[in-house]
Amino acid sequence: MIRKLTMIQAITEAMDQKLAEDSRVMLLGEDVGVNGGVFRATEDLIHKYGANRVVDTPLSEAGIIGAAIGMAMNGLIPIVEIQFLAFIYPGFEQIVSHAARMRYRTRGQYHVPMVIRTPYGAGIRGPELHSESVETFFAHVPGLKVVAPSTPYDAKGLLIAAIEDPDPVIFLEPTKLYRAFKEEVPEEMYRVPIGKAKVVREGTDISIFAWGAMLRVAEEAAKQLEREQGASCEVVDLRTIYPLDRDAIVASLKKTGRAVVVHEAHKTAGMGAEIISIINDEALIYLKAPVKRITGFDVPVPQFSIEDDYLPTPARVKSGIVETLTF
C-alpha cells in the first residue's frame, strides 16, 4: 500500500526515527514538548522519548541556540525548533559568531552537529513577522549549511541528512507547504544529499530556479506556459541554498540559455543575485537574455491582506519568463 504523508508528517517522522536510532539526538524549543510544537511537528515525541530528550525550553532563542551549541560540543545532537524564522534573531549572534565558527576556531577539535529547524515564508495569513524569507542571512555565513525542502519526500530525506551532518544546518521549512499536499514517503530512513539540486521538470527553452514554496509556483507557471504557449521550461529545485549546486545550475543554463530565479525573499541581496553571479562566472557566453529575478519586493513583507501580491505568483513568473524568452 502506498503511504502518503504531508510535509509536516514527514518531518515528524524524520525526527522520530533519528530519536529512536541515536540516543544523542535531542529536541529543544518553545512548546515542542507537551504541546507538540505550534505546527505539531513534534507531536507526541515527548511521550515517546521523555522530557529529557524532548525539551520545552524557556522563551529565549539565544538561550536555546546557545545551549544547543554547548550540547553539540559535548556529545549530543540537538535539533532546535524556532517557532518562526523571524524569531531566530535573538539567537543570531549565537549562530553567526559561534555555531558557524567553532570548528574553525578549534581547528576541527570541536564541532557543532546541530540542526535549527524553522518554518519560513509567507502565504499563510500570518501576523507580522510570521512570513519572512531571509535565507540570505545564513547563506552569507561560512560554516553554516542552509536547506529548504519543497516536498514531503525531500523534507524527510534532507532532515535526516541534516541531523547526520557534522556541521550546523539551518533547516527552513516552507510553512505554506506543511499541509498543502501529501506524497509518497518511504517508511524507512533515507537521505537526500545536502548540496544537490533536482531537476523536477525537464525543458529546453528556459531554466527556472526555485526552492521551498516557490517551487510549486514555478511549476505552475511552467505548466501554464507549456499549455498556453508551448514553451518548454526546465524547473530546478535547488533544495540546498548553501552550498548551492553550481553544477546543476550551470548544466541547466547551458542547456536552455535562459533563466529566471523565483524566490520569496527580498530582491536586493537575495539568493537570486548569487545564482545570477554563478551563471555570470561559469556560463555567461551561453546566456541569450538577462536572467530575470521574480522575487519578493524590496519592502517589508506586508500585512497578510496583500501578502499574495508580495509573493511571486505564477502570473508574475510567467510574465518574467515571457520577457526573457522574447528578449
Binding site: E30, D31, G33, V34, N35, G36, V38, D56, T57, P58, L59, S60, E61, A62, G63, A86, F87, Y89, P90, G123, R125, G126, P127, E128, L129, H130, A180, F181, R216, V217, E219, E220, Q224, K267, T268, F297, D298, V299, P300, P302, Q303, F304, S305, I306, E307, D308, D309, Y310, L311, T313, P314, A315, R316, S319
Partner: protein, 355 residues
C-alpha cells in the same frame, strides 16, 4: 516571595480601605470598559471563526490588568501593547475599528489615533520593553511629563531584552512602567518551567528598582499600583516592575488548542467562576448601589452597538491595495521601490496560486 497586593477580593469585598484614592466615576469607567472589551474579544473570536479575520489572540480573563493599567494613563503617555493587549490599546484611545483592521491583515491596522501614542502591537517577544525605555528617556530629556508603559507576558521575562530593558531603565531612571501580565503560560509552557524563580516581581531586585506583585484580576489594585508607579516615574524616581497575576481563559491564539497542555475544564473554569475580574467589580458596584441590572442591559446594548459599528467601519474601510506595500518603506521611495511597483501590473489572482 513578594506578597500579592489586592484591594478588591474575588467576593467583591474591599480588603483594605481605599477611601479618597479612587473615584466612583473611575470605578464605573473601569466596569464599562471591561465589559466592552470582553464583548469585543468574543466578537473577534467569532469573526476569526467565520473567516472574516486572521489568527487572533484573545485576552478574556485579563481585562482588569489591561483596563486598569491603561485607564491610569494620561493622553500623552506612551503605550506599548503586545499582540494580546488590544483591550489596553482601546482604553488608551485606539479605535476598535483599527484593531479589527489589524487582525484582518490590513496595512493600516496599527496607526495610532492622532495625538495619542498607541504603538503597534509588538510581535517579537520582549523587544518593545526597550522602546519604552527609549521613549520615556526622551520624554524625560525633553522635560515632558509622560510615562511609557510596556506590556509583556510571563514568557517574555525569559528573553534577554527583558533584562536589558530593566537594567537600562534602572541606570537612567527612565519613567517607564513595566507591566507584566503573568497569565501563567507562554503558549503551553507554565511559568514554573519558564524560570526557577517563583515570582517575576522579585526580579526587580536585580536592578534595584521597585517590583510589585499584584492581583491582576483586581482592577483597583492594578489602577492604584499604576498611579503610584506613575507618580514615582514623573518624580524622577525611575521605573517600576509590576507583575499582575492573571489568567487567559481561552486559547493562546485562535490557532492554539489549550486542551493540549492544561485542564481547561478545571483550571480555566476555576478562574472564570472564582476569580473573574468583571464579576467581582460588578458585585462590588451593585453592593454599593452604583450599578443596576438596567444599567447592565444598557451597557451591553451600547457596547454591542459600538462593536458592530466598528466592524462595519472596518469591513467597509477601503481594502489595502497592492501598491500600499511600496509606501512608507522610506520617507522617499528608492528606485527599487519605484521600479518594482511596476511589476505589480498583474495583481495576484487567487485562482492561479497553488494551494
Amino acid at each position: 516571595m513578594t506578597s500579592l497586593y489586592q484591594v478588591l477580593a474575588p467576593t467583591g469585598e474591599l480588603t483594605q480601605d481605599i477611601e479618597g484614592r479612587l473615584d466612583e466615576s473611575v470605578m464605573i469607567k473601569m466596569y464599562e470598559n471591561m465589559v466592552l472589551v470582553r464583548l469585543f474579544d468574543r466578537k473577534s473570536i467569532n469573526l476569526q471563526r467565520q473567516g472574516r479575520m486572521g489568527t487572533y489572540a484573545p485576552f478574556e480573563g485579563q481585562e482588569a490588568s489591561q483596563v486598569g493599567s491603561a485607564l491610569a494613563l494620561t493622553p500623552g503617555d506612551w503605550l506599548f501593547p503586545t499582540y494580546r493587549d488590544h483591550a489596553a490599546a482601546i482604553v488608551h484611545g485606539q479605535s476598535m475599528a483599527r484593531v479589527f483592521l489589524y487582525w484582518m491583515g490590513h496595512m493600516e491596522g496599527s496607526i495610532s489615533p492622532q495625538g495619542l501614542n498607541v504603538m503597534p502591537p509588538c510581535v517579537p517577544i520582549a523587544t518593545q520593553m526597550i522602546h519604552a525605555v527609549g521613549t520615556a528617556w526622551a520624554s524625560k530629556l525633553q522635560n515632558e511629563q509622560h510615562v511609557s508603559l510596556a506590556y509583556f507576558g510571563d514568557g517574555a521575562t525569559s528573553e534577554g531584552d527583558f533584562h536589558e530593558a530593566l537594567n537600562f531603565a534602572g541606570v537612567f531612571k527612565t519613567p517607564t512602567i513595566f507591566f507584566c501580565q503573568n497569565n501563567g503560560y507562554a503558549i503551553s509552557v507554565p511559568f514554573s518551567q519558564q524560570s526557577a524563580s517563583k515570582t517575576i516581581a522579585q526580579r526587580a531586585a536585580a536592578y534595584d528598582i521597585p517590583g510589585v506583585r499584584i492581583d491582576g484580576n483586581d482592577v483597583f489594585a492594578v489602577w492604584l499600583t499604576m498611579k503610584e508607579a506613575m507618580e514615582r516615574a514623573l518624580n524622577g524616581e525611575g521605573p517600576t516592575l509590576i507583575e499582575a497575576i492573571t489568567y487567559r481563559y481561552g486559547a493562546h491564539t485562535t490557532a492554539d488548542d489549550p486542551k493540549k497542555y492544561r485542564d481547561q475544564e478545571k483550571l480555566a473554569e476555576e478562574w472564570r467562576t472564582e476569580r473573574d475580574p468583571i464579576q467581582r467589580l460588578r458585585t462590588f458596584l451593585v453592593q454599593r448601589g452604583l450599578w443596576s441590572d438596567a444599567q447592565e442591559a444598557q451597557l451591553v446594548a451600547r457596547a454591542n452597538e459600538q462593536i458592530d459599528a466598528a466592524l462595519v467601519e472596518a469591513e467597509s474601510y477601503p481594502k489595502s491595495r497592492p501598491e500600499d506595500m511600496f509606501k512608507h518603506v522610506y520617507a522617499e521611495p528608492t528606485w527599487m521601490a519605484e521600479e518594482q511597483e511596476g511589476e505589480l501590473v498583474k495583481p495576484a489572482k487567487k485562482e492561479d496560486i497553488p494551494a
